[in-house]
């Protein structure tokens, strides 16, 4: 396994893998890869079945793969746990890849479902003055709250550097009076937008803060399609999003983990 120190290195390796029939979960952009390289957290492992791209998260690696031959096993033993997420399209469960990783001693740790919100008309203006775009001096606290409330392996917690960039790009809203009570972390482009994290701190729940945060989002983000992933078994979150007008769109995912 080698650390990537130049974007050109990983770009060339990926180009070599992109061919008809390749199986991949790599939707990382050039910018995503460059941020990882800047932070010295991007590694790769090339084997005769494909290419593994690993993002170092201290306790574990997040794996993105290009697999061109599922008959070849991953012989590498990693010194840390490895987590991989396999997304399937509607009515097209990618069982072949899931079985491949299970054969490599990965085990399922969570299943997720995706919700989409396609309604253009947002009628609910019930938001709050306490909601504001996060500023960089609050980024550290936001990072701590995300770490406390989401699973370190499966909670898609950004690196601190990535979070700061998201704050700078206006992708983090907070509900703050004397303290930060709620966070809405999003990703947005002109086409689509995704809720990455929505959290209300423990003692402030059931006061309508999450609804106010999501209303702010609906009012301010003008993407045609808004999506959110949530745990298949997370009934509380699922009910909340359904109440807010989200509907299942058929995309599902499985997160698998291998012990290091």
């Amino acid at each position: 396994m080698k650390r990537v120190d130049r974007y050109e290195t990983i770009s060339a390796l990926i180009s070599k893998q992109i061919r008809k029939g390749v199986k991949t979960n790599n939707f990382l952009t050039e910018n995503d890869l460059k941020i990882e390289i800047e932070n010295n957290s991007l590694y790769y492992y090339e084997y005769d079945g494909g290419l593994l791209i690993l993002r170092d998260r201290t306790t574990h690696y997040i794996l993105n793969y290009y697999i061109n031959d599922i008959t070849k096993n991953i012989e590498k033993i990693f010194e840390k746990d490895v987590v991989v997420e396999i997304v399937s399209r509607p009515n097209n469960n990618d069982n072949e890849v899931i079985k491949y990783f299970e054969k490599q001693n990965f085990a399922c740790c969570i299943e997720r479902v995706r919700y989409a919100h396609t309604c253009d008309e947002i009628v609910d203006n019930d938001t709050a003055d306490a909601i504001q775009l996060c500023k960089t001096n609050d980024a550290e606290k936001v990072y701590e709250i995300l770490k406390e409330n989401f699973d370190s392996y499966t909670g898609c917690i950004p690196t601190k550097e990535r979070l700061i960039k998201d704050v700078e790009n206006g992708n983090v809203y907070i509900y703050k009076d004397e303290n930060i009570k709620g966070i809405l972390h999003i990703d947005k482009s002109k086409i689509s937008s995704e809720i990455k994290h929505l959290i209300v701190v423990e003692n402030e729940r059931e006061k309508g803060i999450a609804t106010k945060l999501i209303n702010k989002y609906f009012n301010e983000v003008n993407a045609k399609k808004k999506t959110v992933w949530t745990g298949k078994e997370n009934n509380c979150a699922r009910k909340f999003y359904e109440k807010c007008g989200y509907e299942l769109d058929g995309y599902t995912s499985v997160v698998l983990k291998k012990k290091g």
Partner: protein, 72 residues
């Protein structure tokens, strides 16, 4: 151009080849683009990098053709 249209129709039989916003309108998603790129690499004997996989390059038949030509 015909080869490209055949590939697109195989991928999405209901595709409107005149459409100028295939990605913006959600007709092609990330999964389609990954599959499409694999087909393009194979069919046109070109190399496509991560930096080329951006919505602007896949929004229309003309845009995809321009990408292919820039790599040929």
């Amino acid at each position: 151009m015909e080869k490209l249209i055949d590939i697109l129709k195989d991928l999405r039989p209901d595709i409107d080849i005149e459409c100028q916003s295939l990605v913006d309108d959600g007709i092609l998603d990330s999964f389609d683009i990954v599959t499409l790129v694999g087909e393009l690499v194979d069919t046109f004997s070109i190399e496509i990098g991560v930096e080329d996989i951006i919505p602007e390059n896949f929004n229309s038949v003309d845009a995809i053709m321009a990408l292919i030509n820039s790599k040929a």
